[in-house]
Amino acid sequence: MHYINIFSLNWYNIYFMEQSIASARKPNFLKKIVQSFGSFVIDDIKGLGDFALFTIKFFYWSVKPPFRVKLGFDQLFFIGNKSVFIVCLTGAFTGMVMAYQMYYGSKLISMDTFVGPIVSMSLARELSPVLTGLIVAGRAGAAMAAQIGTMKVTEQIDALEVMGVDANQYLAVPRILAGTIALPILTIIHGFVGNLGSYLIGTKVLGIDEVMYFSKLSQLMFLEDFFQGIIKAFFFGFIIACIGTYHGFSVSGGAEGVGKGTNLAVVWGMITVLVVDFFLTSFLVHIL
């Protein structure tokens, strides 16, 4: 055995010892970086594949009886009706703030009568579907992941499977269908309330002539503007519900797993709404 007398070490010895330890560790360190990057990429690709399979299963089960209409309406009530208040609140303030911003901007070039159509167009095409999507992702998407995740960790999903009930069909299909239907309706409500807010601030507070406000609105707003928003909302509703339910089914472990799944559902739901919005916009502006 060879022992090092630590009392005989000086700074020179220590420097070289550190260097040799560092060089010995280097390949391991690099290997770890490559390994963790590799597993991150593999996990992400696997996750994407699982999500794609989950979505395909949804289409399969949604056309197969039994059709759980009551469950669908229950979910529609939960996602739609229970989100109305927060959607109206967001819509009203968005419309009012937009009216203020547009008014002072457009007044500089004497185009303050255009406040109505500018706000209305922004709401119809962009703000209403995106903001409603973000609200629903935060509220209903999180709730879906938490409900299904809790059912998974408490063996309720196993109980369904043992009884011979497909958990995907029973839990995911009504939620995804309800989300897909609820979001366009909520978007229309958001847009309506937003326009009302803009009208009140524009005409009653900022003094824009009411006749001019409506005349410009009717001249510059077209049905296509509303369709663009509704089409977007339809996709957002589908995606948010798919992500929420998928993360619910992916939960593992106990309460910590449910929290993690819920968090992922909200984060990915919101990110996906923004990313998909870009691609949908770039497509829809060409056809509508």
Binding site: M151, T154, E155, E161
Partner: protein
Amino acid sequence: MENAVEVINLTKRFGEHTVLDNLNFNIVRGKITTILGFSGAGKSTLMKHILGLLKPTSGMLRVLDTDLSTLNRVGLREFRRNFGMLFQYAALFDSMTSFENVAFPLREFTKLNEAEIKDKGFKLLKSVGLEEISYHKLPSELSGGMRKRVGLARALALSPKIMLYDEPTTGLDPITTNMVNELIKDTTDAHKDIGLTSIIISHDVKATLKISDYVAFLDHGKIIEHRPVDEFLESKEPLVRRFLEL
């Protein structure tokens, strides 16, 4: 003796890890069989194979004279209606009341009308000894023992031919443990006419041996002992002896 479950050369591997290693044993119809073993012995994996939730790496399972490997996904799902299962923590649907939990399989799989479902649901809840006051309570308002009763009533709703009990007494106090054991025994006796087979997966040796007809001991994926309960108690197998003396 007629067998409810026949396990033939069953092997299950997860990657390199062998969980069930060439198992061969039968579960007798109409009797209570307990599968004992330490944690990680492969008990839950075996149970999932009996339910058709997992596919064997090799070997086969014949359940109620049906080779499970011949059934497709839909066939397996339908076949599972022959099973009732009482989960460790009852696994009641937490958004439904006790009655709704019991009514769930009846609404899903029978053509009974609401009045008949109500009648059958109440009868089932009564048969497991649940007081009427608890019929419309949510699972969160019930004690552990009450939840087990509701879970058992739900499992019995479709008149299963095989009842599976997953760790039925784990984590319960001695009085509730005794109550659950009696419930299992009474349920099996009450359904003797249809030949109800009960399979208990447990590591609670003292609690389950009192009510079992047969005991199988699983260790590291192998059945090291499988006998009628009185013979099992006399087993010379060192591991079984260690387990019995705990």
